[in-house]
């Protein structure tokens, strides 16, 4: 939730949200049901055909009839009239509880999030305390002191529900406080209180509505539960009280439990659906991603690489270890079409050769790498005219078949070391498990191999590192561990995706040197994805330059540096020679196919 409501608060955006909400039939249906119930409850004195308390002892437990549409109860009272009147109690209960929860939770959350000192500590402690109280018991205590009126119970429940809103508000404030425009506002001389009001409140209104609809539903359920237990005013018709009475005549007339139960269920369900529809309209990115439908995980995570219509042109030498021709990767976009992030890439790597794959962010370098490894997300569509590794075609291979190749034939070194190690497992288990699984060796052998690998990648205290969890490692150490893991099953092809970008400048050269040494020792082929021509000049044999999903130039390194042909290559080289990084520079696009920014590089 918290990262869902980042800050675009232009009126345009809220209009867009409103439109999204209005277009959601389920949400609108829920809203209609709630309006209907509210109107029915408010107008109960007019709409109800009978006095809800009118006892007619000659007409008890009548079945539904034109006079009594829902029949009568054990005291001969009209069930429909009591349902209509009972709605008033439920709605009042919900209103009191949510008002209390908001009045208690939101201001404390604002203060705790904004002045994160002792007040935050205290408020968070109290909030945890309230959350560990069983509500019914507390209510029983309150009732035995203050009586079973609606206000004291619902106010108490509101206080007990306030931690939810407290936490929500607090986390939003903390997120917003980190945003720059708050600083900007402070610089421009606005006071703290004004800052809170102007920015934070406008951001939390949406999420607050979502939570409020749930709390409102909870109020109706708990209140009816209390009535069912007998903590209610028997002279006041309520859904819970009706259930309680129906339960007393359960064996004579069980059907009396249906109407109040359905009234409660329908109201609460509408509230929940309304809350979900508001959340959808707020456009939580995760929600849309999660709902995207195509996210089968166990059966074939990655899309199978389809053979392209275009025939292979044999533009790559038949002797190369990896041959890729006309690789195309597309993603579906909102308006129903497809967008190509890799648009017909052809490249090759010979045995023992290092290919540099160069280009600015978003040019499709990482997508190309994941496409070759078969690690693209399920919503991607991949095709190629030719894709071979050591002469075997990878086209049409299933996830299980690709999985056989990964680790032993081709391996991957990621860009960001800290997020690429599983935080819950030790280095040892993350190194040993794949070796046992892929190489079929014993645990003792795998452990011994892991020690040797770690010491090969330059880790001195291998014993300590093996026992460490990822958060105990430095970035450089973590990257060495990942490199050790990548080469642990002797792959023929290593794909390193900007392996030094996230590292400290002082260790970048060391890690690069390590990769080169390992590549030579093992005679591995390597694709080195980078945006840095310095790195290319250092260690690559050939270089492929990528722009907007296309390779614009692919030549041996010395040739390319001596005589760059493509204007984009020239521009990249110029910017590097001037000492500035190539990132963020733009040259006019020469071919169609705008990338959509799926590239992680």
């Amino acid at each position: 939730m918290t990262d869902a409501m980042i800050i675009d608060d232009a009126p345009v955006a809220s209009l867009r949200r409103l439109r999204r909400f209005v277009r959601n039939p389920l949400g609108m249906g829920a809203l209609a049901v709630l309006l209907f119930i509210t109107v029915a409850a408010v107008l109960a004195p007019i709409l109800a055909p009978y006095d809800p308390g009118l006892i007619v002892l000659s007409e008890t437990l009548l079945p539904p009839s034109p006079e009594h549409l829902l029949g009568t109860d054990a005291s001969g009272r009209d069930v429909l009239s009591r349902i209509l009147w009972g709605g008033r109690v439920s709605l009042q209960a919900g209103a009191i509880m949510i008002t209390t929860a908001v009045l208690v939770g939101v201001p404390t959350g604002l203060l705790a999030g904004y002045f994160s000192k002792w007040f935050d500590g205290l408020a968070s402690w109290v909030s945890n305390l309230l959350m560990s109280l069983p509500e019914i018991l507390i209510i029983i205590v309150v009732i035995s002191s203050l009586g079973s009126g609606l206000a004291p119970t619902m106010i108490t429940l509101g206080v007990l529900a306030s931690p939810d809103l407290f936490r929500l508000t607090r986390s939003v404030v903390i997120t917003v406080r980190g945003e720059l425009y708050i600083d900007a506002a402070r610089v421009s001389g606005l006071g703290n209180a004004r800052i809170i009001f102007r920015h934070v409140l406008s951001v939390i209104v949406g999420p607050l509505l979502v939570r409020a609809s749930f709390v409102f539903g909870l109020a109706i359920i708990v209140q009816s539960g209390l009535e069912f237990l007998g903590f209610g005013d028997p002279t006041r018709p309520s859904w819970g009280g009706m259930l309680s009475e129906a339960f007393n005549t359960f064996f004579r007339a069980p059907e009396l439990v249906f109407a109040p139960g359905i009234a409660i269920g329908l109201t609460v369900m509408s509230l929940v659906i309304l809350g979900a529809a508001i959340a959808d309209a707020l456009g939580s990115e995760r929600a849309t991603k999660v709902r995207a439908g195509k996210r089968s995980v166990l059966s074939g995570t990655a899309p199978v690489i389809v053979e392209a219509d275009k025939p292979a042109e044999s533009a790559t030498p038949a002797s190369a270890l990896l041959r890729v021709e006309n690789l195309r990767i597309t993603y579906p976009v909102q308006d129903g079409g497809d967008k190509a992030v890799v648009d017909g890439v052809s490249l090759y790597v010979g045995k023992g050769e290092i290919l540099g794959l160069v280009g600015e962010s978003g040019s499709g370098k990482s997508q190309t790498s994941f496409g070759i490894l078969g690690l693209l997300p399920p919503e991607a569509s991949v095709s190629a005219s030719l894709l071979t590794l050591g002469g075997e075609s990878l086209l049409g291979r299933t996830e299980a078949e690709m999985q056989q190749l990964r680790g032993v034939r081709m391996a991957y070194v990621p860009q960001e070391p800290m997020s690429n190690l599983d935080p819950s497992f030790t280095v040892a288990s993350q190194l040993v498990k794949p070796m046992r699984y892929k190489l079929g060796i014993s645990k003792a052998d795998a452990v011994e191999r892991a020690h040797a690998l770690l010491s090969r990648v330059g880790i001195v205290d291998t014993k300590r590192t093996m026992a460490a969890y990822p958060h105990q490692l430095s970035g450089g150490m973590a990257q060495r561990v990942l490199i050790a893991g990548a080469v642990s099953c002797d792959p023929e092809l290593l794909i390193a995706d900007e392996p030094t970008t996230a590292l400290d400048v002082t260790v970048q050269a060391d890690v690069l040197e390590l990769l080169r040494e390992l590549q030579r020792e093992r005679n591995m082929a390597m694709i080195l994805v980078t945006h840095n021509f310095g790195v290319v000049a250092d260690i690559c044999d050939r270089v492929a330059v990528m722009q907007n999903g296309l390779i614009v130039e692919q030549r041996p390194v010395a040739e390319l540096f001596a005589d760059p042909q493509h204007p984009y290559t020239k521009m990249l080289l110029d910017s590097t020679l001037e000492g500035a990084p190539a990132r963020g520079q733009r040259v006019p696009v020469q071919s169609p196919g705008q990338p959509i920014g799926k590239d992680a590089s």
Binding site: N128, S145, F250, R406
Partner: protein
């Protein structure tokens, strides 16, 4: 690890102390009258006054509090002012019923909720949507209403299981199972949905993490990645949800007990509330809060076993 458990335990005890103390003074200062509660509306003012002296209610509140606390620490929760029986006896006979209900419901919810949550996460489409609908229903239908309907169908109409009563586990295990099945189903439905939903969301979130892709690049099978890496990283939030659901189940049990005429802690508390029986209310409260502290402690220990960062902190 031991230091961590000790710290959590200490904070739990502080929590129990604060709650119990707060509630004691709340009851005393808002004018609950155990003497009147015990004797009923028709007792004369003199009788009530005599009773008040007997119960020691004329003493200063702080003295009464100290008296209660020092006895409670020695395991003596005093006498019920309405029934003239030791509070501890009441609790010992009634508590097992409620605890079997709440613990049973939470175990069922943990098991089924995890299973359904994982299945929904890895089977997008119809199964996942069905779970979403069940989630809404599980929340929207009051569990005591579900309990009534279950009793109607399985006990009254089909006569498969008893509608009322409780048989102690030690007397007849099979009979215990038969009496407790329907209440546990009714009590666990909402928790199953909540846990399934939580686990579904966190499994999907974990699947999008970089390290899952890197594990796949090592050639590990999808199944082994799911069962070891993904589940382990996805379970902490589900565990938190489980402890919240346990607290809700303790509340829910008090209501469900009425449907199945189970003599649990719920009816004790309700009667005590009607009689302003402060000793009994305090006893029930103390036991429940200690139980919640215990469950939270177990969850904390599991949490730290799953998450190395928590252990180190």
């Amino acid at each position: 690890m031991i230091a961590f458990i000790a710290r959590r335990l200490a904070s739990g005890i502080v929590l129990a102390f604060v709650v119990v103390t707060g509630m004691f003074f709340f009851l005393k200062l808002t004018g609950s009258d155990p003497a009147r509660g015990a004797l009923g509306l028709y007792a004369t003012e003199d009788q009530v006054e005599t009773r008040r002296l007997q119960l020691g209610l004329d003493r200063p509140v702080l003295e009464q509090y100290w008296d209660w606390l020092s006895h409670a620490l020695r395991g003596d929760l005093g006498m019920s002012s309405a029934q003239n029986t030791p509070v501890i006896d009441l609790l010992v006979t009634r508590l097992p019923v409620t605890v079997s209900l709440a613990v049973g419901a939470i175990l069922v919810a943990a098991l089924l909720g995890s299973l359904l949550g994982v299945l929904a996460a890895i089977n997008p489409g119809r199964f996942d949507r069905a779970l979403q609908v069940t989630m809404v229903l599980g929340f929207a239908l009051p569990n005591f209403w579900v309990a009534i309907i279950l009793a109607l169908v399985f006990a009254v109409k089909l006569r498969w299981l008893p509608a009322t009563g409780y048989i102690h586990l030690t007397d007849d295990p099979l009979g215990w199972l038969r009496t407790i099945t329907l209440p546990i189903i009714a009590l666990s439905i909402g928790s199953i949905a909540a846990i399934a939903q939580q686990l579904r969301n966190s499994v999907i979130t974990v699947y999008s993490q970089d390290y899952v892709r890197t594990l796949r690049s090592r050639g590990l099978s999808s199944r082994s990645i799911l069962l070891t890496h993904v589940l382990r990283n996805a379970s902490p939030p589900a565990l938190t949800m489980l402890s919240l659901q346990f607290i809700a189940a303790m509340s829910g049990a008090a209501i469900i007990e009425r449907v199945f005429a189970l003599q649990g802690i719920g009816s004790v508390a309700i009667n005590a509330s009607g009689n302003s029986d402060i000793q009994v209310i305090m006893g029930v409260l103390l036991f429940t809060v200690l139980l919640v502290v215990l469950v939270n402690l177990i969850v904390d220990v599991l949490y730290s076993a799953l998450n190395p960062k928590v252990r180190a902190a």
